[in-house]
């Protein structure tokens, strides 16, 4: 991991509305994301940010939130122990509890995957995505990030159909993830899947899309954005 503080400051200045810090290797390795950088990021960030990776307990979450994060995002640990969602929501309020879902489409419809940080250890649950979306809301998830694995890394656009179907059964904010490659992918996912946010990494890190340009484009398309 490079020095993330200048990167965080860059995205703050470009106009990002929220940052998510993923330590995607934390869960497969059975370790917790190290926290000292959370405080350094909090010092410079005046926008909300979320920390994801290896948060397995109320204590893990408390350390990250006390260091200054706005929210924690859990994925594999929630699948291993769904009651973690209830405990986090009770302690911190559901607005702090983001549940990430890696969803893969196939013959039997969309299914949830776990341990996706490591391709060799990734497991495909028998749990259907729709069923999991309902369960985590009942348990107190305050936001859902739906990463569509079929589209992840290919930059051909978000999985608008899948996201729209999940939107219909989702009472909490829904964030689209996986597949962004061009500005029109963002406008489509906002206008057609009616998501509350769109997450992307590669296109921003590489400089392919500047957030300021993207926001002007989205405003022209009729999507409400913070200038």
């Amino acid at each position: 991991m490079g020095d993330i503080v200048p990167l965080a400051a860059r995205y703050r200045d470009e106009g990002a509305d929220e940052l998510v810090f993923y330590d995607i290797t934390a869960s497969p390795d059975g370790r917790t994301v190290s926290r000292d950088w959370v405080t350094r990021v909090t010092e410079v960030l005046d926008i909300p940010f979320c920390v994801a990776g290896g948060i397995r307990s109320v204590e893990d979450a408390e350390a990250v939130l006390a260091a200054g994060a706005e929210k924690v995002s859990i994925n594999t640990p929630a699948l291993e122990d769904p009651s973690l969602i209830d405990r986090l929501a009770r302690r911190f309020g559901c607005q702090c509890v983001v549940v990430g879902i890696d969803s893969r489409g196939g013959g039997e419809g969309y299914r949830v995957a776990s341990h996706t940080g490591d391709p060799e250890r990734t497991r495909y649950d028998r749990k259907g995505t729709a069923e999991w979306v309902s369960e985590i809301q009942d348990r107190g998830a305050g936001e859902i990030v739906l990463n569509c694995m079929n589209h992840d890394g290919v930059r051909t656009g978000y999985d608008v159909e899948h996201l729209a179907a999940v939107r219909d059964i989702c009472r909490v904010p829904l964030i689209a993830s996986g597949g962004a490659g061009a500005m029109e992918h963002f406008s489509r996912v906002f206008l057609e899947a009616r998501v509350d946010g769109a997450l992307a990494a590669t296109v921003f890190h590489s400089g392919a899309i500047f957030i300021g340009d993207l926001k002007s484009y989205l405003a022209d398309c009729g999507v409400e954005v913070r200038p």
């Binding site: 926008i47 408390e62 009472r171 200038p227």
Partner: protein
């Protein structure tokens, strides 16, 4: 200038402390009634549920201290809601500074609850808290309960219905949004608060 942040037991106070620090203000996190009474400015942050937060304030004797403060006081998010007479979250009897009540946001298909995101805020002209902030500027909101547009509303936003984005009564102010998470505009609101005479 001794600025106090009331330690209301929420987990994420660090962001507010750093936001004040960026404005050159080293605030003290405290639940000591003496330190709070002596402060030039008092901030009341808070996340979580109203009944839990009130129980913690009562435990420290602060439910009697806060309404009697005469210096500028700023409640943020739940901290704003605690300034009201009552919240239906719990429900809870609150501090009673503002004679009105806090009610749940109504869910609707296009309005997920909690409301989390950036919304446009319009303040009353001349409101010192929003000095230099353009009408329609976006601020960051995270909440499931809200106060309607009432007698003490100084700024509004729309989430299905019109709700209070900020309230003010005498030396007491509150923002439903998080100024410490609202970029340069939020920083301006905090700076405006710190400029108020104590």
């Amino acid at each position: 200038m001794a600025v106090a942040i009331i330690d209301s037991g929420g987990a994420n106070i660090a962001s507010l402390r750093f936001a004040l620090q960026r404005l050159g203000c080293a605030a003290e996190l405290t639940r000591d009634p003496g330190a709070i009474r002596d402060a030039s400015h008092v901030l009341l942050p808070g996340v979580g549920a109203a009944d839990d937060a009130m129980a913690r304030l009562r435990g420290a004797g602060l439910d009697r201290v806060i309404p009697g403060l005469t210096q500028p006081v700023l409640g943020i998010c739940l901290g704003m809601q605690l300034l009201f007479e009552r919240s239906e979250e719990g429900p809870a009897d609150c501090l009673g500074v503002i004679a009105d009540r806090v009610v749940p946001l109504e869910p609707a298909p296009e309005r997920p609850i909690p409301h989390m995101g950036w919304n446009r805020v319009s303040a009353e002209p001349g409101c010192m808290l929003f000095d230099g902030v353009d009408a329609g500027t976006h601020f960051y909101f995270v909440h499931s309960f809200a106060a309607g547009d009432g007698d003490y509303t100084v700024a509004t936003t729309t989430y299905g219905t019109t709700i209070s984005a900020a309230v003010g009564k005498d030396n007491f102010f509150g923002t439903q949004f998080h100024p410490e998470r609202s970029g340069p505009a939020g920083s301006r609101v905090l700076a405006n608060f710190l400029r108020m005479d104590s």
